[in-house]
């Protein structure tokens, strides 16, 4: 359809006015042709845009570009010091990198675009400033600020022994108007529970005090302090918490005597009804003055396991065996 109208247009321009009228009526009959050419040479003046443009172009002075230097990598010596050329992180600059790099997607079979005017190379972070010689030089320069490794702390065991507490904090360096980062105040304190000495009551109480800060899988206690505005304060607070919890765990309050069976943190065969029942069963029919039979240690363990760990196939199976053994019933 578009090509048809274009044809018509050309005809209109070339033909005389009479022919123009004829065609004009034709297009009127055919509204689907899309564009209407409602011009008549006698009635409308044609605005000739093209001619105007040409005169405009003639007036405009041709702008001549200043000659630019050739890319400077052509002048670089082959044994130059690369760390001086690219001392810090910066966006890729094709004229300064003497490598024939190519990157980017093209049609199949064609070579990827070269490094000049290549946005793909500029987008990705480059590590041209972290070449091994550069890192070596920087390490050399920073050596004078380092101290030798402390004597007496040569192995992991030794330093874990002397420094059982591990304190972690993070420094932040960023390009913002502020040099402070709220996360920098956070102090994390780690200690292995095995490094602290407890008795049974104290350990139980300590674990109750620290709650989920203790990870039973790794045996590590973690205290995170971030409630104070400064790192120093948070560090002091974390150390205070550790000390306070430790000493508190050795204190036995009067109300701790009121601990009933339901408050126990684990099932102990010795203290429980099932021991009495089991003993009652095996001592059944034995005269009261005779020595009482004791429940076997295996049975006690199995019951404890069953209740503390929960019912599973293994525990249940062992329990069955022990019960049969206890009652001297043969399993056929």
């Amino acid at each position: 359809m578009a090509s048809l109208t274009r044809l018509l247009e050309r005809n209109l321009r070339n033909s005389s006015t009479a022919a123009g009228r004829r065609l004009y009526s034709q297009t009127q009959e055919e509204p689907a042709a899309g564009t209407k050419h409602e011009f008549d040479d006698e009635e409308f003046r044609v605005l000739n845009l093209r001619a105007a443009k040409q005169t405009d172009q003639q007036k405009r002075r041709v702008f001549k570009k200043e000659a630019a230097l050739p890319p400077r990598h052509l002048k670089m010596a082959t044994d130059q010091d690369w760390t001086a050329v690219w001392p810090g992180p910066r966006t890729f600059q094709p004229s300064s990198v003497p490598l024939p790099l190519r990157q980017g997607y093209t049609e199949k079979g064609a070579a990827p675009p070269s490094k000049f005017v290549n946005a793909e190379l500029m987008k990705i972070p480059n590590f041209l400033h972290l070449t091994p010689p550069a890192i070596r030089q920087q390490c050399e320069a920073l050596k004078k600020f380092c101290t030798p490794w402390p004597k007496g702390l040569e192995s992991v065991e030794k330093w874990e022994k002397h420094f059982p507490i591990e304190v972690k904090s993070t420094d932040y360096c960023h390009a913002l108007p502020t040099i402070r980062n709220p996360d920098a105040r956070r102090v994390t304190l780690n200690i292995k529970l095995s490094d602290l000495k407890f008795d049974a009551h104290a350990k139980d109480k300590f674990l109750r005090l620290v709650g989920d800060r203790y990870n039973p899988n790794t045996g590590i206690l973690t205290i995170v302090a971030d409630r104070c505005p400064l790192r120093k304060q948070n560090y002091d607070y974390a150390m205070y918490l550790l000390t306070a919890c430790y000493h508190e765990s050795f204190v036995t309050e009067p109300w701790e005597q009121n601990k009933s069976e339901a408050d126990m943190e684990y099932y102990s065969f010795e203290r429980n009804k099932s021991k009495q029942t089991a003993e009652a069963i095996i001592n059944w029919g034995i005269p009261t003055d005779a020595a009482k039979l004791e429940v076997s240690q295996d049975f006690a363990q199995t019951v404890e396991l069953l209740i503390n760990e929960g019912e599973n196939e293994y525990n249940l199976g062992r329990y069955k065996e022990e019960v049969l053994k206890l009652l001297s019933v043969r399993n056929e």
């Binding site: 002075r61 001549k64 000659a67 630019a68 230097l69 050739p70 890319p71 400077r72 990598h73 002048k75 670089m76 130059q80 010091d81 760390t83 001086a84 050329v85 001392p87 600059q93 004229s95 300064s96 550069a134 030089q137 920087q138 050399e140 320069a141 920073l142 004078k144 600020f145 380092c146 101290t147 030798p148 402390p150 004597k151 007496g152 702390l153 030794k158 002397h162 420094f163 059982p164 507490i165 304190v167 904090s169 420094d171 108007p177 502020t178 040099i179 402070r180 102090v187 490094d195 602290l196 000495k197 008795d199 790192r231 120093k232 560090y235 150390m239 550790l242 000390t243 430790y246 050795f250």
Partner: protein, 652 residues
């Protein structure tokens, strides 16, 4: 950092904790036989790490100064370009600052933490401003002179009392800056490019007589030694020598104890006080005696001030002996001379009309390998002057290299001064080297310094071309020519002529491998020169015209490079513009052109050339013979030849 610093204490802290926990159980105490030794932390300032890292970065000779963008389109290629680019950047910063000050109500937010004072809009003081002594103190501390004066006047109007202390501080500030707002610290580029203009203004009285400084001085009652000192120093800094000296005498009469710096200031202007050398020397001695009388110990500035006075002595011998006396005296006082001292020594000893002095050798032996920091304003003059002495006084390249080595020791490059002194330094260095070094050695240094550190001026370029001419090193010409195009030297007639001369006089030798591509490149250079002169680019006014010799050389070079088409185009230009081109090409050029016409079988062109020769009254005989021998001419050509050189020639 807090925690790392606490590390040793952390250890003892935990061992205490564990000890208590152990003690509770009465179990065995931790064995203390393996003692640990934690070394102390290495103390460092906040920037030490950065300085250490920066020290690993060397200089890249292919890169522009870091203030410019590292992009072929944005690297400045001429001295003007360097200045323009740097100043344009700074102009942008200035514009931003202007907008910030103009629309201060829009920039009230203070995000930075800790807040940056320089980013906060500056206070504006008007008649209604509420001011007090603290405001004035604050302004004085920040050296905001105009504001400080406004506030001072306001306080006086409102009848707020100003303490003598504050007045003294304000007086010192105004005397130091001569009641003018100094160029703000942050305009580094302006400072770097401006000093050139400053040099012209020096030694002129600029002190503002009878203005605020002197009023303030009058207001301070009772007068103190400090107020005298401030005014005297201000006056001598801005060369109001007579009054400074009068004040000094007044202060001495009133028995005020002045300080060394004040005496130094007066000594340094004593050449304005007395006419002849003897009188100046007498005055200096007098002043020094006064210092001794007041038990003041002279310092480095005293030494430099004395030498400055000595350097103005016209009598060479007297200047020399006085300088040596001063030096000996100060050596006894164990005052370490600065670079400024050596600068004065150089200008005292190495004078243009004086005998040759090798004092610079001794100076260099003394300060070899030392690192300097700025101690005196004249310290920045040393390197440029030393290089000047090397070039013009002694003409010694090994000394020049020693100076260059000293300049690149440590942070000594900071003492090069400004762009003007830097270019003077390198100008002398290059001029000396290209006269004394073998051309290959020289080009190595050239590659290292041009164009990013130094761009040769046309005069130095000519020296380099002379060196190339002497060595016949035509293989360097393509490089030098492209540099000349980039540095904008092609409008200098002397340079273009010399370039062409070198190319004409040194035809390439095919057997030398480095000369393989020379003929082609020479042709290109010749064509380039021709185009640059014949069709100058739009903006540039036509400031370079052909001379006959110049265009003849171009013609010859084109012929030699085998580009006959272009050569004939150039000849057409010569032929058409005969009246515009002063002089004519040499006969040799035209001869070569005709030879190439014969080679290319273009008899018409050869005949045109012959016609030109005849019209310009040159010896046409040999050329006509060549044309006759070289071509089998048809009737038309023969008749033309006859009409040009006459019948008798053909009949021969």
């Amino acid at each position: 950092m807090y925690l790392t610093r606490r590390l040793p204490r952390l250890c003892t802290g935990t061992s205490q904790l564990l000890a208590t926990s152990c003690g509770r159980f009465n179990s065995k105490v931790a064995a203390s036989e393996d003692r640990i030794e934690i070394p102390n932390r290495v103390q460092r300032s906040p920037t030490d790490i950065l300085n250490a890292l920066a020290s690993t970065v060397g200089r890249d000779p292919t890169a522009p100064h870091y203030k410019y963008h590292d992009d072929p389109y944005l690297i400045p290629m001429s001295n003007v370009g360097k200045r323009t680019f740097a100043m344009a950047q700074e102009a942008g910063r200035k514009a931003a600052k202007f907008i910030k000050e103009e629309h201060r109500d829009l920039f009230k937010h203070q995000e930075a933490q800790p807040s940056i004072e320089a980013f906060a809009p500056q206070m504006v003081f008007t008649e209604e401003s509420d001011v007090n002594a603290d405001t004035l103190q604050n302004l004085i501390r920040h050296s905001q002179i105009t504001d400080a004066i406004t506030v001072y006047n306001l306080m006086k109007q409102k009848g707020i009392e100003i303490t003598n202390d504050t007045k003294q501080q304000l007086l010192e500030l105004i005397c130091f800056y001569n009641n003018e707002e100094p160029l703000p610290e942050e305009w580094i580029e302006e400072r770097w490019f401006k000093a050139n203009a400053d040099a012209r203004e020096r030694n002129r009285k600029t002190w503002k007589d009878g203005e605020l400084a002197e009023q303030l001085f009058g207001e301070i009652e009772p007068k103190t030694a400090q107020s005298y000192a401030a005014l005297i120093r201000g006056m001598s800094k801005y060369f109001q020598a007579e009054r400074a000296y009068a004040l000094l005498q007044e202060a001495t009469e009133k028995q005020f104890e002045l300080d060394t710096q004040t005496f130094n200031a007066v000594i340094s202007v004593s050449n304005f006080l007395k006419e002849t050398a003897d009188q100046r020397w007498e005055l200096c001695r007098d002043l020094l005696q006064q210092m001794a009388h007041q038990h003041l110990r002279p310092n480095l500035s005293t030494l430099n001030a004395l030498l400055e006075v000595v350097s103005t002595f016209g009598n060479f011998k007297f200047a020399r002996s006085s300088a040596l006396k001063v030096l000996a005296e100060f050596k006894q006082l164990e005052i370490e001379p600065s670079l400024g001292t050596y600068y004065y020594l150089l200008i005292i000893f190495c004078r243009e009309r004086g005998p040759v002095s090798h004092i610079i050798v001794d100076i260099l032996n003394e300060i070899k390998g030392r690192e300097f920091t700025i101690q005196h304003p004249k310290d920045t003059y040393f390197f440029a002057t030393a290089m000047d002495v090397c070039r013009n006084h002694l003409h010694d390249k090994s000394l020049a290299k020693k100076i260059d080595e000293l300049l690149h020791t440590g942070n000594n490059y900071d003492l090069i001064g400004d762009t003007y002194k830097e270019s003077v330094y390198y100008r002398h260095y290059f001029a000396l080297l290209c006269q004394t070094e073998p051309i290959d050695e020289f080009m190595k240094i050239y590659d290292l310094l041009v164009p990013n550190v130094y761009i040769p001026e046309p005069g130095i370029m000519e020296e380099i071309l002379k060196a190339v001419e002497m060595n016949g090193a035509v293989e360097l010409m393509p490089r030098l020519w492209s540099d000349m195009v980039i540095f904008d030297h092609i409008s200098r007639e002397s340079l273009v002529t010399r370039t062409l001369q070198i190319l004409v006089d040194n035809p390439a030798h095919e057997d030398i491998p480095s000369h393989q591509s020379i003929p082609d490149q020479v042709g290109k250079i010749a064509l380039d020169i021709y185009k640059k002169i014949a069709e100058p680019e739009g903006r540039r006014p036509k400031d370079l015209q052909f001379t006959g010799k110049m265009i003849g050389d171009i013609l010859m070079l084109l012929v030699r490079s085998g580009d006959f088409e272009k050569a004939s185009e150039v000849f057409t230009h010569i032929d058409k513009n005969q009246h515009r081109i002063p002089g004519t090409p040499s006969e040799k050029c035209l001869q070569e052109y005709v030879d190439s016409c014969i080679e290319n079988k273009a008899p018409t062109k050869a005949l045109t050339c012959l016609q030109y020769v005849v019209e310009n009254n040159m010896d046409s005989q040999p050329m006509a013979e060549r044309i006759n021998a070289g071509f089998t001419l048809n009737e038309v050509h023969l008749s033309k030849l006859k009409s040009l050189v006459g019948e008798n020639f053909v009949s021969k």
